[in-house]
Symmetry: C2
Subunit: 132 residues, 2 copies
């Protein structure tokens, strides 16, 4: 397929129409050609670019970081050190978040276990736990 409108691109990329327009406004997707009636016309290059963006987003890479990656990709001779750093940084952050959530899970489970038999707010073991 050579050309497509925004709805089809959205389908192909598993991404909403609004999100595509949003990425364009953010400068992640370049402005596409327009039809006579001002409809956006995309080619397969745009689909590739959008797939890259979605892939990065699913990995927790921020829009600003994706912007940097897009610039970097166009300078094949430069060092890729910053790309590696970015990924390593994300691994660190995900590790940290995993630790936090694991701890949170034990606390929540403990709280849930404290549910008293009475089933009234006044004797609610859960609320008492929340109150420290």
């Amino acid at each position: 397929m050579v050309e497509m409108k925004i709805g089809l691109l959205a389908n192909k990329s598993d991404c909403s129409v609004q999100t595509i327009r949003f990425y364009e406004k953010q400068g992640l997707l370049k402005q596409p050609m327009r039809s006579a009636s001002n409809y956006r016309e995309y080619d397969d290059g745009a689909l590739k670019q959008l797939t890259f963006i979605r892939q990065c987003r699913s990995l927790g890479i921020s829009i600003n970081e994706i912007k940097q990656l897009i610039v970097l990709r166009e300078q094949p001779d430069k060092s890729c050190e910053s790309v590696n750093q970015m990924v390593k940084q994300h691994i660190k952050e995900v590790s940290k978040r995993l630790d936090e959530l694991t701890h949170l899970q034990t606390v929540l489970t403990d709280i849930a276990a404290s549910c008293s038999a009475g089933h009234s707010i006044g004797e609610c073991g859960v609320l008492k736990k929340l109150d420290i």
Copy 2:
């Protein structure tokens, strides 16, 4: 201590001054007394309330849910079923997020491992992985 201004309350509750004002505007903290010069004057009850709020927030309970909890706490005779449900729901969500992050961690680690020796953008294994 019987009375304190917002800065001291912020210190005691490990919470910024702006956040306290934000919670007040959201209806989580009731409007405190005001001094002659219009400064907020808090008592220990406010500190307890704020501590409860922060405890809930650290457990991932949303501001709207905290509002519900605050209302519930004032009706000791009602059933605490909804409180239990809320906690159980959070446990589910945290589980789901843990699974997602665990998977993300393996993907990121795999990507990081693909860093090629060349150290240039053009032959960057990391970028190639990101490009699918």
